[in-house]
Structure formats: C-alpha cells, structure tokens
Amino acid sequence: MSSAARMGFRSRASAWDRKYSPYLYISPFFILFAIVGLFPLLYTAWVAAHDWDLIMGQGEFVGFENFTHILGERAFWISLRNTLSIFILSTGPQVLIAIVIAYMLDSHLRAKTFWRMGVLLPYVVTPVAVALIFGNLFAERFGLVNSALEIIGLNPVGWQSDSLASHLAIATMVNFRWTGYNALIFLAAMQAIPRDLYEQAEIDGAGRVRQFLSVTVPMLRPTIIFVVITSTIGGLQIFDEPRMYDHSGRGGSDGQWRTMTLYLYELGWTRSDFGRASAVAVLLFLLIVAIGIINFTITRRIATADGGKGRQPSRARLRAQKRAQRREHKKEAAR
C-alpha cells in the first residue's frame, strides 16, 4: 500500500515538475516585470484619476475628469497629430531603406566589416548631438539647408514655422540614427536565409529584384514584424529629437512639433500637473497598443502576400525546387 502510494506521489511529483517547473524558471522575469513594468503602469492610471501636484503630491480623486479635460484641449489633438505624422514619416521610410541597405550589405562587397560598422556609426552618436547638428542644418534663417536651397534658386523652407516641414526634419534625424541599426538586424536575418534558395532562384532565371522580392522579403517576415513593433513603440514615444530641435524645447510657438511626450512633459514638469500628465501617458499607452496591433496585422499580410500562407515555402521557391529537381533528373538521364 505505502509503496504504491509513494509511487503515485513520485509520478505525480514528476508530472508537476514537467508541468509547472518551466513556469518557475521564467518567473523571475515576470516578477521583475510586475514590479518595474506593470506596477508603474497601473500606478500611472491611479495618478491619472486624481488631482496630483508634482510637489504637493496626491490630491482629490477626480475620476475621469483629467481625461475629459485633456481630450477637450486643442494642444492634445495637435500633439497627437504631430506624433502620428512624425511616426509615419520616420518608421515607414526607415524600415524600407533599412531592408534595402541590408540587402546591399549582404551581397559580395570588399571590406564587409567596414561597411557594416559604417552603417551603425550614426547609432553611436548621442541623440542630443544629432539634434544639435540637425538643429543647425535646419535653422530657418541661416541654416545650411536653407542657404543651399537659396543658392540653387529655390525658396527657403520654414523648417520651424511649418508643421510638416518640421516633422520632416525631425523624421530625418530619427532615420539618420535608426536606419543603420535596423539594417544590421535585417542583415543578420538575411544571412540566416539558406543560400541554396538564391541559387535555385537564379537557375530559374530570377533577377536580383525578383530574388529580393520573392525570396528575401518573405523569409524576413518575422524580423520585419519585430522591427516594426519596436519602432512603433519607439516612434510614438519620440522625445529627444523634438525636445532638442529648438532652444526652448517646447515644440514650437504654435506646437508645430510638440509630440505627445513633449506635451506630457510640459503638463507634468512645467505645469506641475501630474494628474493630467498621467492621463496623457495612459492615452499614449493605449495608442501604442492600438497602432501596434494594426501594424502587426498589416505586416503579416504584406509579408505573406506573395509568399503563400503561413510557413509554407513560397510558390516561387517551390517552382524553383521542382525545376531544379527536373534538371537534375535530366542530367542524370543524359549520363
């Protein structure tokens, strides 16, 4: 009896071990996350439901009043517009150019390491230094870009007075810094693509462009999703570049490039109103989640569009394989 019971306990223990141990092993991450990620997140929501002064601390409970106030502010909607505009102008071109650069770095180049390190160089420069340099380039009156435009007979652009122009300038800064970094991530993924796929495609008579579109891009799908998600999070939280874009750091006299994070900073630190700043933080969080989901679905679609469904090999790849096989047969038959 007792030995049978012990056996039963043993097998149950080992069943538990199999079942629950993995959770135990990864729990440190989630415990840490709960303390430093989840708690601040929920606490921000708690602050957002109160009158909360930076110095005096917690005030009355006000429910959703901070949110209704923020949503009624013109400044909030302008900051939302700016954030989305800068995000689109930076993330889109950045991912596209990064893939192309990675593809070029992946081809046969002399001094490979040199070129690869070269594209990462802008990433090493601190954002503040980048902003100072670009701030000078894009200065409205005596900046380098406008001087150059005037020399070739074009009208100077209002890099700081015009909203769209300022977004373009800031997106340029972001792209300057992040394109090389993303290119290297893509490059790593590209090198994991089996080389025989390219050989087969080449035998099929696919040119470089066709190879790129039909082999490289579909095989990069998981990496594209990863890069798009991370740059969505980063792009929507953009702060350094717009903050450093001019001397005041408040996003222009008319809020031309005041992003949501700048608005949040102004509410929280300049106006000392942590309640409303937290409300903006919560809204920004929701926005990132929403756009993250949208991007995730879109990138899934785009990357699979000409690559078949799911993890199945692409049609081009299948065709290439079949033809290669046929050729092999023919060769053998000829022998």
């Binding site: 430093v36 222009g252 949040l264």
Partner: protein, 449 residues
C-alpha cells in the same frame, strides 16, 4: 510614476538585449522613486517643526557643497576663492537655461531629494516656489536685511516672514545699440545724443526705429519677445492679482501693449523676426541683423559673447518708458540638503557686496546690495567691448529710474511664456495674425485657471 514613463520615452527601440538593460535601469528608477517617496515623508516631517534637530548634525563643515546655477552667474573664480578660504570644495552644476533649472528644481522638490545644497532661483519663478516656501530654509538670521535694496529683499520674504533666498543680481535695463549702423542710417550715434533721442515712451523708441529701418537694411530689434520683456516689466499688475485671480486675458493694458508691439514689429517691419536665444538669433549678431537690444546688466555678457569680433556696440543711458527690471536671481537653500548650515554660510558669502562686485566684473551681473551699488568699483566700471561705456554708472542710473516692481503671481512664468509664444507665432513664424494668435493665447490662459 511618470518618471519611469519618461525614461521609457527617452529609450527607443528596445531589442531583447536592450530590454534587459532597460529593466535594470527601470528597476533602479523604481527603487529611487520609492526611496524618494520615503524621503518626501521625511521632508514633510522636517517642515513640520523638528527640522532644526535633524539639521543640527550638519553644523560641522562638510568636505564639499553643491551649487546649481543657470546661464552665467560669474561664480567660477569665487568658488576657487572660497575653497582657498575654507577648504570646502564646491561642485558647480551649471544648467543651460533658467527654465530647465526651474523644471529640475521642481522635480527635486517633488521627489524630496536631488536638489543641490544651494539652488539659484530666478525672479520670474521665485513666486511659484513661494507656494512651497516651507521646502526652503529660512535665511533671515544669516545676513542683515539692509544689505540689499528693499524690494530685492522683500520679494524673497514669504507670508510668515521667512526669507527663502538671498538676492544675487538685479536686471536694470539700459539700451544697447550699434553705433556704426546708427551712423550709416543718419541717426545720432553718440551715447548722450542717443539717450536724448530715446527720452520718452515706447512710441518714441518705435518712431526712431521707423526712421532707422527706412534708411537701413538691418532691423531695429531682434524680435518681439525681447521687447516684450521690457514692456511687461513696467506693468504694475500684469497677469494675476494679489488675490490669486488670473487677469491676463481681461487686462486691457496687456492687450494694448501686445497690439502696439506687433503693429511695430510686423506692420512697420521693425523686427528681425528672430526668437530670443535661438540659433538664428545668436547668428544674427554676426550679420548686422538688428541695431538695438534691451540690456539688463547680465545681457551685456550675452551680447559680448554672441557678437565676438563685431565692432560698434555701445550702451545708452536711456530706456523707453523710464526704467525697468528684467530678471535677477536668488540663492536658496532647500531643506532637503544635508549641509544646511554650511550652505547658508556660502550663500551669505556669495551675496556679500565684495563678491557681487567680482561677479559683475566677470560677466556683468549687476549687484543688488546697497554697498556694492555705491562702491567705487561699480560707479567707475567701463566696458571695453561697448566702446568703453561707463556701464556701472549707466546701470546704476537705470536702477534708480525703476518706478514699478510688477506683481508676479505663481503663474507669471507660464503666462509670460504663453504670450511670448503668441508674439512669435505672428512675428517669427508668421502662422497667425495678431488676433488669431491672441485667441490661442486666451485658450492657454483658460487651461491654467
């Protein structure tokens, strides 16, 4: 908690490896924040009365003291001198702009830690900190009140009679001008003649400007925001009443000045359309961008720095509408510091007449103590860059001409920044006309109420 969100905002594109680093950084931030919360409670306890006990232990001289200033205070040599005198080393934390220094100090007060032993506070936001005057040490016992000009001293006294800051400099304004450009345009260029021509109100100043721009390629002044500081500092009750009511949106005196200034800047093209402190603004000093500038003492150093190598700057003993004070600062000792007694001593020493004179000689910070103002060094001081103008005597005269010390409430800085934005929308960016820009300003004032 938003501090952690803020850290996330600064950190872009996390990769798995970065995420580890990020989590590390965040946990540190979290611990700091929690610690800060604890510190907060202590600070409250101290403020509630038993502060003197906790501070008694700090009576001994520490090895070093930290001091935070912004822009230029001219303290570098003084700190060395103090180290020789007392052996106390001074860590100088120099913030680029007054606004950034203000935000950082607010943050430290909120967190209950992080402030320097001595924090410099500017006149325009001193009033804001008056709301939290119990977070600053009372300095009334540490230096005699009659050291300073009455109004300078009074501004730092809270409702209970505690003194939270020692005055450093004041900003009596004269008018700086380019004598060479004046001469080219056929205007009088001699110091006394210019002062005589400018004797009058703002309209006199604008009229002379109209005459000037008709005959010159340069503008009369850099931008509306510079001139605005001169105008608004002559209004007795500009934005808020002493009862705490915000009147910036209904005060016709403010609106009239706004209209008058923009008419001169835009319609009469007196303005170079440059926003103060911007890169373009600094560059314009080298390009004959404008011919005049409002000149509180501390501005002399700014002009000299930006216009390095340019000849022709001079200072006239005149100011539109009489006199006016722009800026000037205080040294405060936050209660959260660990070396309070030593910090009080240093603050008192730095604001002694002798030291104020040295700061004036270094960067033009005009003294706020009676003895320094009357001293031979100030009265006879000249400035080579400004064509050997007797700047000491001129600024002393200008200080005497100040009739109005405007009442500044806790929202003064925010409202003034909003109205300067409104001016810049029209004058610098050209995205609004005066009326539509004023409407936006009204919205912003409404949000502060």
């Amino acid at each position: 908690m938003s501090t952690t969100d803020f850290n996330k905002a600064r950190r872009r594109h996390p990769t798995p490896r970065h995420r580890l680093a990020q989590i590390g950084a965040l946990s540190i931030t979290a611990v700091l924040t929690l610690a800060a919360c604890g510190g907060d409670a202590e600070a409250d306890g101290e403020a509630n009365g038993n502060g003197s006990e906790t501070n008694a232990s700090s009576g001994e001289a520490p090895d070093s003291l930290s001091v935070t200033t912004f822009n230029e205070f001219g303290y570098e040599e003084l700190f060395e001198e103090y180290e020789e005198l007392t052996g106390i080393q001074i860590e100088h934390n120099k913030v680029d702009t007054a606004e950034n220094a203000r935000d950082a100090l607010r943050n430290s007060l909120g967190a209950g830690s992080g402030a320097s032993d001595i924090e410099a506070v500017e006149l325009d936001w001193l009033v804001e900190f008056m709301q939290y005057s119990d977070r600053f040490e009372d300095l009334s016992e540490d230096a005699p009140a009659d050291r300073w000009l009455d109004w300078k001293y009074e501004d730092a006294v809270d409702e209970e009679g505690r003194v939270i800051g020692f005055g450093t400099d004041i900003g009596p304004q004269a008018l700086c001008y380019r004598a060479d450009l004046f001469e080219e345009a056929g205007l009088p260029s001699d110091r006394e003649e210019v002062a005589a021509a400018l004797d009058g109100d703002w309209e006199t100043y604008f009229d002379l400007g109209r005459e000037f721009v008709a005959a010159s390629d340069s503008a009369w002044y850099s931008g509306s925001d510079n001139i605005w500081q001169g105008m608004i500092n002559q209004v007795e009750v500009p934005f808020e009443t002493e009862d705490g009511e915000i009147i910036a949106d209904t005060n016709s005196e403010v609106k009239d000045l706004y209209d008058q200034l923009l008419a001169a800047s835009v319609d009469d093209e007196l303005s170079a359309g440059l926003s103060q402190w911007s890169g373009d603004w600094s560059d314009a000093f080298q390009r004959d961008g404008f011919a005049t500038m409002l000149c509180p003492g501390w501005m002399l150093g700014v002009i000299e720095g930006n216009a390095d190598g340019v000849e022709g700057w001079d200072v006239a003993d005149a100011f539109p509408g009489g006199g006016g004070n722009w800026g000037g600062s205080y040294l405060t000792v936050p209660t959260q510091g660990e070396n309070i007694e030593a910090a009080k001593e240093l603050a008192a020493w730095l604001t002694e007449p002798e030291q104020q004179i040295k700061a004036f000689e270094a960067i033009g910070a005009f003294p706020s103590t009676v003895e320094a103002l009357e001293s031979e060094e100030i009265q006879s001081a000249t400035d080579e860059f400004f064509n050997d103008a007797p700047v000491g005597e001129i600024l002393a005269n200008r200080a005497e001409a100040i009739e109005v010390q405007p009442f500044k409430g806790p929202n003064y800085l925010l409202i003034n920044v909003a109205i300067q934005d409104a001016l810049n929308r029209v004058d610098v960016d050209g995205v609004d006309d005066p009326e539509s820009s004023w409407e936006k300003f009204l919205d912003e004032v409404e949000a502060l109420k």
